[in-house]
């Protein structure tokens, strides 16, 4: 087995607020192999975006990554200097955000904004291309992400682009320096379904053509099912289950994963009561002791209330953080 591209180990990112410490990410471990699409799924506030920002080292005060390792291409990103990190961002790791409307600057043309990282990284730092070639490269990138008539659109401003086109332009900017890892944080949540299908297709295409690994963060289980090779399910700052896509949807083990899958209305199913999860997502300042899901879990045992469960391997690369399966690892 080759060394994974990204290895996150024991990552903990806390926010130090006046009313207490918010343990947004509280011990997260996962790996992404080369050319793999890993899905990170979970509900609002479970820590999926903070995990992504921690990898990028974009957490600012009052937040702080207090523990853990982020090994990328063999080196720990958390130990890098600010300057070294700046060179990695945009070239080796780039990130696409949820809302294309707020991630583009309204006062600069699309072309200018796409040219910026190319000039900075490929012209000034790496001397890969000359400054004169930049405009040509920008148009090429726009063409690659499927923007019609790129020669003319390149001088337009963000407000002249539709939502789907802006997300394409963002994608063009992010892949312009051939990153080996693309972090996409809810890339299609603000976009209509037919355009969503186009953007997802574009991302799959990039993986196929350039071998880019993708960390896809979303709350949409449909998008996960369609795009990913493996999935990690997050709940209240921890990964509770990790498996390949068919296993996770076919035989989910963790009670939270199972509940989440059953809560989604499905096309073709009869109208029935949807399964719901009782209670609410716990506070991340004073999470419940033991397993954080136990107050809402129908299978909670005494043990679950006392001790935080460890990840257990229940199948090939299928990990579950639940005491229900603690017998399985011994077999």
């Amino acid at each position: 087995m080759s060394e994974p591209l990204l290895k996150v180990q024991g990552l903990k990112t806390y926010f130090f607020l006046e009313r207490g410490v918010v343990k947004a990410v509280d011990g997260v471990d996962f790996e992404i192999k080369k050319g793999e699409i890993l899905g990170l799924v979970g509900e609002t506030g479970c820590g999926k975006s903070v995990t992504a920002l921690s990898i990028m080292r974009l957490i600012s005060s009052p937040g702080k990554t207090v523990e853990g390792k982020v090994i990328f291409e063999g080196e720990d990103l958390l130990k890098k200097s600010g300057e070294a990190m700046r060179k990695i961002r945009g070239t080796k790791i780039s990130m696409i955000f949820q809302d294309p409307h707020t991630s583009l600057d309204p006062v600069f043309t699309i072309g200018y904004q796409i040219a910026e990282p190319i000039e900075l990284h490929q012209v000034e730092e790496q001397h890969l291309i000359s400054a004169k070639e930049v405009p040509k490269k920008v148009v090429e990138m726009l063409k690659l992400v499927g923007i019609p008539d790129p020669d003319h659109r390149v001088v337009e401003y963000p407000h002249q682009f539709s939502g789907g086109m802006k997300q394409r332009a963002m994608t063009a900017m992010m892949i312009s320096c051939n990153p080996s890892l693309l972090i996409a944080d809810e890339p299609t949540t603000a976009i209509d379904v037919t355009i969503q299908a186009q953007i997802l297709d574009l991302m799959r295409d990039l993986r196929r053509k350039l071998g880019t690994s993708i960390l896809l963060i979303t709350h949409n289980l449909g998008v996960i099912a369609e795009m990913c090779d493996r999935v990690a399910v997050m709940y209240a700052g921890n990964i509770v289950e990790q498996a390949d896509i068919t296993t996770l949807f076919g035989s989910p083990k963790h009670p939270y994963t199972r509940a989440l899958l059953e809560a989604v209305p499905k096309v073709g199913a009869k109208r029935r009561e949807l399964k719901t999860i009782p209670g609410m997502v716990p506070s991340l300042i004073t999470p419940p002791p033991g397993c954080k899901f136990h107050p809402r879990c129908p299978h909670a045992m005494d043990m679950c209330r006392e001790e935080f469960p460890q990840m257990i391997e229940v199948g090939k690369e299928h990990l579950v953080r639940c005491y229900l399966y603690s017998g399985a690892s011994k077999k």
């Binding site: 509900e43 299908a197 186009q198 989604v264 209305p265 499905k266 096309v267």
Partner: protein, 358 residues
Amino acid sequence: MSSKIPKTKLEAVRAGITAASGKARASGEKLIEVRELKKYFETKRGIFAREKKWVHAVDDVSFYIRRGEVFGLVGESGCGKTTVGKLILGLIRPTAGEIYFDGHNLTKFDKEELRKLRRRMGIIYQHPQSSLNPRMTVHTILSRPIDIHKIAEGKEKEEIILKVLGEVGLEPQHLDRYPHEFSGGQQQRIAIGRVLVLNPDFVVLDEPTSALDVSVQAHILNLLGKLQSKFGFTYLLISHDLNIVEHMSNRIAVMYVGKMVELADKEELRENALHPYTQSLLAAAPIADPKRKRKGVILKGEVPSTINPPPGCRFHPRCPYAKPICKEKEPEFKDVGKGHLVACHFVKSLSHKWPPPA
């Protein structure tokens, strides 16, 4: 029997409303009928405006909603689905066309008459945090509609409020709290309660769960379903999420750039979608099942502008089957049997199966 003093005011309200309508609920006849409805919005106002342009938000739409039915309206952003909802409630006035609510022609009503009729209607918006007044307690929020429509006072009013609170799954101690103290799901429950105090006939659900997480969404959809079967409400469910519309509705209409392109029973639409746009919409919706991979073909291009919609069939620039006639002549919205309406020139001659042959 027809005793003159009903036990609670809530019963009285219900009795009054059914008496007013003169018909039992959930009887299957038309509660809402919309005929050739049009709404154009003017753009470019202000001193520098050289020419007026019109957004064709809703352009010649006709349909009806049966009493006790859940009527789903799907489409992508800007297709005019929310405008249809607002027009039916009389919150905006149509440019042309007629809207009938229980036999009354709303387009002929003045503001005051509309306000009175709105006691029998409600709307639930997408974002509960912006549709609830942050300076009002839950109690005030729930009592406002009762006060405005002079339904009850004093003890009777409190009874209604407590009963509604129980129906939407909130506790009496929540009454003195403010909206910001609640989670998104609970806020949506308050918004549902605000509609429920009037015990309306008809409720517009405008993306009721789009701002919520899946597990909370399941709670709210279950609640809306429960209330509907208990009180016989008629819903117009507006959503971009086909899964939700499929789950809740009896009949579904699909809109594209201000026009209705297809309308059918839920099962019929799922099994036998005829309009190429509906088919591509069904194909584009991601399925939470890795074994059922989406079919490879993806609709090209973007939704056109409603300011200058394409001539002829509005879907023709993106349609894989488009022929010259589609650019010139607008297709009729016609019945192809079993109440299944489609607006496509080639609905009978083409064997529409998505994906189209390469």
